[in-house]
Each structure stands twice: as structure tokens, then as C-alpha cells.
Symmetry: D3
């Protein structure tokens, strides 16, 4: 994963800060403020309770330093790395109060992002050797798309478009309103400034129409494996060919073996279970 | 669910609006703008593909009317209601472009909230007849806590504290830094303005100490069923007694039968799979 | 005041920054920019013109360092400390321009917070030896609740709830709409997630009803001293008992001697006069 | 007060909305949501408990309609009007929940603004017949300057500059750093784009120097009445002459009679006690 | 211009609202508030003083209705339409104060956007009949990219990428750091999720290398006309070919005749002079 | 330009940060992230391609350090300085990625501000020796007024009012609605708190009326040179006299020679062409 590029702090810090404000509320951490001495220091071990793929470690740990810049974060793993159950991901040390007050926000972010990366890794492993890439969709958590797309990359997957504005994807509802695939593709090629124009097709006939109209990518929706192979043959590498719909872990190897360029799976971001994390703190002073 | 109270628009509209901005990006919906005529109208059916508990229908559909106030939403189900697979949840009608451009945001919100409500309902059913309530935790998605807590209520569950500022919860790390349970509880009672003071305990001895110190609620962490029963007996209804840790669907009936007041389950909010939804649009004009 | 805990910078810095923007407007400090050389340095003494209790010194002085991180603040007093008229609270040194441009914001914040702390201290002194605490209310300045509640604590007072969401307080208007005290308390106990349920009562009969219904705290509104004593006797320490309404400095010792747990006084935050401060600057260079 | 102009909604609505969010917190009004039926309606009378000058009635009542546009506000008084103790200021009717949830925010704003207007009116009355105006300063509550300056106008007073950017005011600290009054005034006249250049002077000699240097207004700081008269004579109506420092209600008539154009009083905004208000609600259905 | 699609209100309203706040400052329109009666009504004619192409009429006129929803805007021209000098673009009627207070913001926006559309139209006319499109760049005014890109479309031009995230454009500095064109293109194809990969080339040799490496578009920078023709021949329609650098109005017809797909001109957005507008108001009452 | 004062970072940093977010979009700089190694370092020369006056160098270069505080900016010119074509304005060195990702934002800001300063300088030169100042207007780019007003000062010009709230300017539309010049001026003097009251006049008769009514400044709109001289004579230095309307570079010397105090030119901010800049980067490592 040596080319995994984390998002810019300018883009992700507002997410972490908003999460802290959401948890702290108006009055802040009543428990910690009441029971932990102001001068107490501590070191906490952030540990993965189950094996998984790491994603978002720096992002999540920014919660601690945003709350108090004196906290130090010593990362023991890197995004994109596989860790065993029980592995320490980071040591957090410094004043005890901010460490405790930021804990839940950090864990909520990290557990979710590692969960997505781990689920993605599993799916990527299932298509290994086929040349097909695994891609996520726009079915992300509102407010977290930047980070969830990144977690998919940390899991070895690829990102489809980031939003409604950076690629054209003509779906069933668009076709009906535009007056058919040909009309839709032509309007899109004329109207969208140099963006890729992908068409979701449900039959081989639709595929042919999309290709004729000039689509630059196609998405096969709910095709049989047989028809997928037909589609790959017809497209002949001219445009990107993706598959979506009804993709289960069991069917994946077969689907991927059809020669498609990518398989799109919404569940990577909307339904991956979080990775369970523990946070064990050792008092260190004063 | 006749007393289910949805959040105030003042509190949830910023979440919906931010989700729209995240999806629209700088340039807006390139596909719809390019291929759908400006004067096209349509009606879309929002359908649950699997059976589940509804939550967040008004919240999610606000995406359509925030984008264009001319869109009309005709709800066919209510939050807190159980629907069968294939049930129509709402009809969305009006100008076609905003309906299409807001679709994904609405579905992302609704799928997630219905997923949480559905998972909660299942757990609530498992404890039926025991007197124990099912509660969620602070393990929520950053930015969505308000809505996820509401979805838990729609599923029949209860909400634990909303954040770090509205209740004291003394956990293991706090105990160590405060110099033990007794010291921690006393500091909390003195320092926190009329908030409940709950202590997470790991043994019956800790339970006794928490009770003596004046805790107003206790959370049994990773107790055996046998010890849970002991704890319920010792507490004798004096304070609220909750259970957390290692709670599986299989163990739930037994756990709930111990007489505890509530069972806390973080997975309700961090790992519930989304409910799959479809959005079928019929052109209506111009 | 050794356990006085100031708010987190993450929570109070936006207030200070907004105050600076409000004062600087679009074009900034026209006077200072025009008449003070860019390289001038200075040291300013921040002095209390009358005796009082300090509150918000770090918060207020953050105005200087937010405007220019090169400014240094040397605090000569601590929040919660009593100072004599003429006492220096802090020395502010560094580049002269930001020191002058932030002066008014710092003084506006500090004068108000010290005013609240000083008024609170006076009231707290009046109940000394009675066991009753002095509490503030939600009658705070819009936008400054966090800081004003803190100033009350610096004055030796306690905070009642921070807002509408962290405790239930059933007042007269709620009773009427809910169908009486009993109905209101029962609904609140069922519907509010583990929050304290306090009832404002106007007669001993209402007190009895609130207790029977299960209220966890009561607020006696406009009781005579005689009835207060009756109420304390009836409650018998079972729930928290607070007093509000018609509380004057003269009546306070008598009220506090009734055995109530707390006396609530809105005027602490809505009508405390500001402490007068001076800001004397000595040029230091260049 | 027929030319009293309230601030634009675009400018004051963010203040009201922020105040609502501050009070509602994350989870909203737990009491009202739990105990008041969703379909209850009511009418509330907003009443002044003591006589005073009205200010901010529309601004404060915007809290109700921001929370729910179905609430109707029937104003029974106007800003700038004097009302007797017990006077109804407005009737608020509609759905009961938002009326109750916005009550405290509306009262906090209104009580403060009426308090400032009432204090100003009293001071204005004390200078009646002298030709001197009463002006406020920048000693306002952080975040509320727009509204507090308006309340002063509602009380019959005038506003001094709104902030650091719309007028030059050379104070003692500026003089020292600029190298004297003459240097400061000349720099200000050259550097500030057509703004008035006022100088705070402490002696008649300083007054002369300020006049010679070209100041367009002067502020006499802590002058004796005798020296004020001298100053008025020397200035001879050429520039605006204001008085500040040590202005008590007792001294006011004498000060105003010196012939000064205005008297500046910071206490109008930083220390005016709030006007006490009551909010009595009659259930109206369903 | 029948397919010109204006931006969504959700995306452009924040720009208009921020512009109003910038002009109104803290205290609002002092002139209008002081001299125009509160009940005055008026109708204003918004007129183009010189011939030009209209862009942003609805966007700019939103300033009036954002300030006061009672103002009515009667558009007399459409975006994308050419108007003669002296043409009325809109009639604005309603309460006089908000009409006057929003005038400058509306005119500032409209003058700039019409200026860009008019400049674009002129350039588009110069390439008429050649098949080449005119495109803008990222050299837009900070904060106004959405609107300026729209104005270019209203002028008949096309938009290049909206920002750094929706297309890859490998420029000279990237080549050097990536180790050459081939390395850069390959990394981009592998790393960027389905985006077009355009390369800016300075020689025909670079063009060849970019094509071999798999670029999906090329941008010829500062080519002679002779070399442009060579480039068009070599590319043979396989990828999009754009021209930039040294493009003057005089050279345009010749450049466009080379067969390139598009000509990129930064000056359309960074240096187009504003269209002069007048705003004549007729009092209408009361 | 030794007294040119740049805006406070607190006021301009939000503009730079918003510009970065606008360019980076959701996903950041796809080109740089994909093709530039994470550990690459570089030094870039920021060069003016044509001669001009510098303005906004620190402001624009803040884009680099906001994106990554490790970037170092070595300024080689100062705001208010004239530079020759080809002059290096700054060297930017450090990690290559943020340098490239912030380049366009920095250049867009700097090119525009230098363009305004350069245009202003040219106009200022044309009035040299006349005693007249050159002033800008409120015809600025929405969102950039602070910086554009500063660029005018860097060009040697003066700023007229910053917005609607810091000076009264009675224009033609105000006169009609107020019932004439005299009424308007009197209302303004009474209603606006110590602000200058300027009147735009179109005839000498209007000038006389404005003077009689007490205006503190006058703006001659579209006067002939002959009438300007008459106006200057009548005003006799009593109030500030400005000229606007139909001011071309050719007419300027004559206009300025009339003895007016200032000439207002809107085109300085709304139509100045940007200064062309180049950004040449040398790889430096790793």
C-alpha cells in the first residue's frame, strides 16, 4: 500500500472537530473533569480486538491533539497494513484529561474506517488474480464520504466517483426521463465538461445502444454471469466495464473472472461492521 | 410507538443540508442537469426491499424539499412502524431534477436509520417480557448521533446519555486515575451539577463499593449471568442497573431475565447493516 | 477553589474569536493601525478597579493571543481568587497593535465574568454555614452560557442544568398541558433517558403529589419560609430540594437556614453588574 | 420613537438561531417533548413584571417562529414604547411545544434588551432639556452588540461607533505610542478613509492640542464640571464634544447642562439589570 | 442557449448572502435606514448600459428577495440572451428600503457575470465555424468559481475542470517531479479513480510521449500554428486536444482552424471587464 | 508606501482557506497526489510576467502555509513596491505536494490584487501634483472587498467607505424617496451616529442645497470640468469634495486639476485586468 495517500488535514480536520463538539456538548466531559486530577498524565494503548486492515489512524488520533496539542501520538501501525487481533495500533500519551475526553471520538472514527478497510480487503482477496478491481459507490455515510472513500482505498479497493459532479452516471431513471439511452448519452457528452459518461445497462441490447451512443464506461446491473461474459466480449476493452447488483462474496470470484474491469459494492461503505477497539490507559503521574 | 418524538427541524436540517452539499460538490448533479429536461416532472416510489422498522422518513425526505420546495412528499409509513418487504414508504412527486439529485442523500440517510431501527427492534423482541430495556451507547457515527439515537427509539430502544456532558459514567480508566471507585464517585457527586453518576463495575466487590459511595446507577461490564443475578439482588432496585459487554443475540434473553433494568449494545449504532431501498420513478410530464 | 475547572479551549475559543470579529468589523482597528507604529511594543497592566472575585482570566486574555500569537500573557491572579481594588490581574506584553486591538474584547468578557463571580460570591457568603448551595439558572446571556455558568462556579456557586436537554424541569406551564403533576412526572420518567426529573411546585399539596409521582428533585417556587420548612421536613432528604422565586439578599440567610439543598437565583447571570477594569499600557520599544 | 429602525432579519436572525441551539443542545427540550402532547395548542401572554421601555420585541419573538413557523405572534406593544408593570407585550399562540421550547430564549433576549432600553430612558430623562444626547460605548456583551446598540436607541439614546473600524477614537494608550496627540491626530487624518477622528483628552491643554491638530470630535475624560464648561467654551461648537468617565445619575443633570453634545455611559450596556418578564400559558386544545 | 442550466439555489445562495453581509456590515444600510421612510415602495429598472450577453440575472436578483421576501423581481431578459445597450434586464418592485440596500450587491454580481459572458461570446464568435470550443480555466475569482463557470457557459463557452479533484491535468511542474511524462501518466491512470488524464505538452515529442503513455487528453502549450496542425494530425481524433497559452483575439481564428477541439483562455474569468449597469428607481408610494 | 498596513490574519485567513476548499473540492488535488512522491521537496519561484505594483503577497502566500505549515515563503518584494517584468516576488520551498496544490489559489489571489494595485498606480500617476486623491468604490468583487480595498491602498489610492454601515452616501434614488436633498441630509444627520454625510449631486443647484442642509461631503456626478471648477470654488474647502462618473484616464489630469479632493473610480476594483504570474518549480529532493 505504498502509494496510499491520506486526505489533507484541511479537508478532514473539520470532520474530527465537529465530532468532538458533538460528543462534548455544551459543558464538556463531566466525568473526566470531575474525577481526574488536572495534572494527571497517562499513556493509553489503542488496540485492535480483532484482526483487520488499518485505515484512518492519523485521522482518528487527530482527535487527541485537536483537544490538547500537548498529547503525543506514537503510531505503531500504518494505514493499509494488516494487523492481528491484539495488536497495538498507537500509544497515546500526555495529560490524562484530553486523552480520556477524546477517546470515544477517536474510536468511533477508527472503528468505522478500519471496518470498511477490513471488509474491502476481504472482497479484494476474493477477486485476486482476476484483474478486476473492487470499487465503492456513493452509498456512504452522510458527512464521512471523504474518509470512507479513503478507507476503501486502504482496503485495496478503488473509488468510483466522489459525488454528483465529477462523473456522469446515467441510471434507469435518467434514461426514462431523457427519452432513452441514446438521447441521454448524447446530451451528456454535449453538456458535461469532459467528464466520463457511464451508463448503467440492464440488458445486452442496452449495452449495445450505450456503446453506439458513445458512452465512455458501462455498468452492468444485475446481469447473469453468462451475460457478463457476453458483455465483456462485445465491449472488447474499448470502454471501462463495471458490474453492480447482486454481488455476494460467494459469487464474486466468478463475477470477477468474467473479465470486467471493476465490481461496485455499496455495502463496503453502508454496512461494514466496525472493528472493535480497546483503549487501555496506564496512569503515568504526576 | 405513539409517543415517538422526531427531532426538531432546527436540529436535523443542517445534517441533511450538509449531506446534499457533500454529494452535489461544486458543480451539482452533472448527469441530471445534462440529460433531464428542466420541465420534466415525475413521481417516485420509495420502497423498502426488505422488511424492517421505519425510522427517519421525514428527515430523509427533507432532502427533496430542501433542494426544491416544490417537491411534494406523501408519506405512506410512519417512523416506528414495521413494514413488509416491498412496502412503499413514500411517494415523491414534482419537478424531476431535484427528485433525482436528492435521491442518494435521502436513501443514504433512510437506509442507515431504518437499519438501526430494525436491528434495535430485533433485540427488543429478544428481551420481550423481561422488563429490561435495550439501550444504545455513544458508539455512534460522527455527526449523526442525534438521528441514530432517534432511530434506536424508533426501534423500541432507549437512549443512554447523548454525550460527555449530560451524565457521569465512571469507567475503568477513570477509576484508576481518580484513585479508586469511592474517590471517583464522591468527586463526581460533588462536582457534576445534578447529573446521574453511573459506575461501570467489573466485579461484585466493585459493585458494593460503587453502591456505598453513592452511585446513582451501575453498569455491569462482562459479568457472568450468575453474577448478574447476584448484582440485581444486591442492588435491590435502589439504583438503575445496566449491563454491557459480550451481549450477543443468543445470550440476550438470559441476560434480560436477570432483572437488570437495561442492556447496552453499541453495535446497534456502529454496525447495523443498512436497509436496502429502491427508488422507482415514473415520468409524469411535462 | 482548587477544583475549579475552566472550559476547554475547543469550546470557548469560538466565542472569543466571534467577539473579536464583531469588534474589528470589516476593516479592523482603524485607530491603532493609523497611529501606532507597526514595530512598537508595549506592556499593559490589566487591573481590577474594585475588589471582586476573578473569573475568565485565561478565556478573556485569549483575545490577545488569538489576534497575534506573539503576545505574551502573564497572569497575576487565578480564577476563583478574591482580589482587592487595584490588584493587577495580568501583564500583557508584546507587539503593541494587537494588544490595543484586542483590549476591549478582553475587558468586555472579563468584566462580565468577574461581575458574575463577584455577585455569586456575595450570595454564597450570605448562606455560609447553612449547607445550602447557590445555583444559577438558564437565564444567561445568549451565546455566553458556557462562560457564565463557569463564572458562577468561580464564585462558589453551583450550576443547574445547562440547557433543555440535560435534565427535566416540569414547570407550571408543563403541568397544565400534561394534565397535572402526576401525569407529567410519569411521562417524564418514561420518556427521558435517565435524566433527573425535577418539578417546580407552588404549594405543599403539589409537593406531595410530585413526591408520590416519583420526582427526583423539587423546586419550591415562591414559598413562605414557614412552608419551606414544612417542605424540607416532608421531603426528608429523599430528593434534592431547591428554592426559587423572590430570593433577595436580605431573605437569603433565613431561606438557606430552612434546610433546602439549593437556592436558585437567575439574577446572578442576567443582572450582575460588570466589574470595572483598567488597562494601562507602557510603551516598551522598539 | 417613530423613527426607530429595527435591525434587518438577515443580521439578527443568526443571533436568535444560535441562542436556540445553545439552549436546545443536542437532544432538544426533554421536558416538553416528554410531557406535552404533540397536538396540544396554547396561547401564552408575555408580560412585563415591572414598568419599562420596550426593545427587541420582534427580535425576541422570532425565537418562536424560527422553531416552528406555525406559531403566531400578536404584538401588543412596540419597541420604544413605555409600558406599565403588568402590561401584556405579546400573545403567542399555536402548537404548544415550540412555544414552550423557545420561551427561555425569547425571554432572555427580551429581558436584556428591555433592561438596556429602560436604563437608557432613565438617563435620557435626567438630561432632558439640556440638548445633550446620551450615548453608549463599545462595552457591550460579546455577540450582542447589534441588538444592544438598538436597545439604546429604543431607550432614546444614541450610538457611538459600532466597532473599531467605523470611527477613529484616540485614547490615552494611543497617544503614548504615537508620540503625542498632534502626531496621532495627523496620522489618523492621513490614514483613515474619511472617518471622524475623535480624541479622548484629560486636560484643557490636551483639548487645545487636539483641536489644533484637527480632531473632528473630542471626548472629555474625567473632567470637573468647571473644566467641562471651559472646554465647551473653547470648542465653540466647532467639533462634537462628548463627556465620559465618572458619570453618575446624580451628576448627570449638571454635566449635561455644561453644553456638551453627548454623554457616553458604558454601564447602559454592560450593567443594566434585565427587565423581569412572565410567560403565562393557557392551553387551547386540542 | 436553450440548454443553459443555472446552478442550484442551495449552491449559490450562500454566495449572495455572504455578499450582502459583507456590504451591510454590523449596522446595516445607514443611508437608507435614515432617509427612506419605512413604508415607501418603489419600482427599479435594472438596465444594461452597454450591449452584452446576460448571465446571472436570477442569481443577482436573489439579493433583493433574500433581504426581504416581499420584493418582486420581474425578469425581462434571460441568461444567455444578447441585449442591446439600454435594455431593461429586470424590474424590481416592492418596499423601497431592501431594494436600495441590496442594489450594489446585485449589480456587483451581475456586472461581473455579464462581463464574463460578454467576453466569452466575443471569443466564441471568433471561432465560429471551426468546430473548436472555447473553454475557461481555474483562473477564477476566489469564492465565485461556480458562478463564473456558469457565466462562461452563458457566453457559449465550455468549462474545463471545476477544481483539482475532478480531472487530472499534468503540467510542467508535475512532469519534473514525477520523473517525466510517461511516469506521470502511468501513475495518474493507476491512482485517479476514472478521471480523465490530460497532459500539458510543450513540444511534439512530448505530445508523442503523452499519447504513448495513455493520456486521455492533451493540452498544447504555446505551440506555433504550424505545430498545432502537426499535433492535430498526430492525435487523429483519438483523444481530446486543447490549446492554451498566447491566445489572442487576433490569433484565435487561425488557432481554431487547426482542428483542435478546444481553446482554453484564462482571461475570460480573471480579466473580463464588468458590464456597466444602471438602476433607476421610481417611487411608488405609499 | 511605508505606512501601508496589511489586513489582520484573523480577517483574511478565512478568505484564503475558503479559496483552497473551493479548488480542492471533496477529494483534493488528484494530479499531485497521484504523480508527485510524498517525500519530494521543491523550491518554486513566483515571478511577475509583466511590470506592476505588488499587493497581497503575504496574503496570497498564506495559501501554501495553510495547506502545510512546513512550507517556507521567502518574500523578495513588498506590497506597495513596483517590480519589473520578470522580477521574482517570492521563493516557496518545502514539501512539493502542498506547494503544487496551493499554487493556483495563491496565483489567483495575487494576480487579481496586483492587477488592482497596478491599475490604481497608473491612475494615481495621472493625477500627480494636483492634490487630488484617487479613491475606490463599493464596486468590489463579492467576498473580496477587504483585500481589494487593501490593493487600492497598495496602489497609492484611498478607500471610500467600506460598506453601507460606515458612512452615509445620499444618491439620486435616496433623494427622491426622502423628498429632496434637504430632507435627506437632515434625516441623515439626525439618524446616523456620527457618520459623515455625503451627497451625490448632479448640478450646482443641488450642490448648494446639499451645502445648506449641512452635508459633510459632496460627490459631483457627471459634471463638466467647468462646473467642477465652479463647485470647488463654491465649496471653498469647507467639506470634502469628490468627483465620480465618466472619469477616463484621458480626462483625469484635467479633472484632478480642478481642485477636487478626490476622484472615485469603480473600475479600479471591478475591471482591472489581473497581472500575469508564473510559478517555476525546481525539484530539490528527497
Amino acid at each position: 500500500m505504498n502509494d496510499l495517500r491520506p486526505p489533507l488535514p484541511l479537508l478532514y480536520e473539520p470532520i474530527v472537530e465537529a465530532a468532538l463538539r458533538e460528543d462534548l456538548g455544551r459543558a464538556g466531559d463531566q466525568t473526566t473533569d470531575a474525577v481526574v486530577p488536572a495534572d494527571a498524565t497517562a499513556t493509553a494503548r489503542l488496540v485492535a480486538r480483532r484482526a483487520g486492515r488499518v485505515a484512518g489512524l492519523s485521522v482518528a488520533c487527530r482527535a487527541f491533539t485537536l483537544l490538547d496539542p500537548r498529547v503525543e501520538v506514537d503510531r505503531r501501525a500504518e494505514d493499509g497494513e494488516d494487523v492481528a487481533a491484539g495488536a497495538a495500533l498507537a500509544l497515546i500519551s500526555g495529560p490524562a484529561r484530553p486523552i480520556l475526553s477524546a477517546e470515544r471520538v477517536a474510536l468511533n472514527l477508527l472503528g468505522r474506517l478500519c471496518g470498511i478497510a477490513t471488509a474491502t480487503r476481504e472482497v479484494v482477496a476474493a477477486v485476486a488474480g482476476t484483474g478486476a478491481r473492487v470499487a465503492c459507490t456513493r452509498k456512504t455515510t452522510p458527512g464521512l464520504r471523504l474518509l470512507e472513500k479513503y478507507a476503501v482505498r486502504a482496503g485495496g479497493g478503488a473509488n468510483h466517483r466522489f459525488g454528483l459532479d465529477d462523473a456522469v452516471l446515467i441510471k434507469d431513471n435518467h434514461k426514462r426521463l431523457a427519452g432513452g439511452i441514446t438521447a441521454a448519452v448524447r446530451k451528456a457528452l454535449a453538456g458535461a465538461h469532459g467528464l466520463s459518461v457511464e451508463v448503467e445497462v440492464e440488458t445486452l441490447a442496452e449495452l449495445d445502444e450505450a456503446m453506439s451512443a458513445g458512452a465512455t464506461a458501462v455498468l452492468l446491473d444485475n446481469f447473469t454471469t453468462h451475460d457478463m461474459r457476453q458483455a465483456v466480449a462485445r465491449v472488447g476493452g474499448q470502454v471501462r466495464l463495471e458490474i453492480s447488483g447482486g454481488v455476494t462474496l460467494e459469487r464474486l470470484p466468478e463475477i470477477a473472472s468474467t473479465g470486467a474491469d471493476a465490481v461496485s459494492i455499496g455495502a463496503l461503505t453502508h454496512s461494514a461492521p466496525a472493528v472493535d477497539l480497546s483503549f487501555e490507559l496506564e496512569p503515568a503521574g504526576p
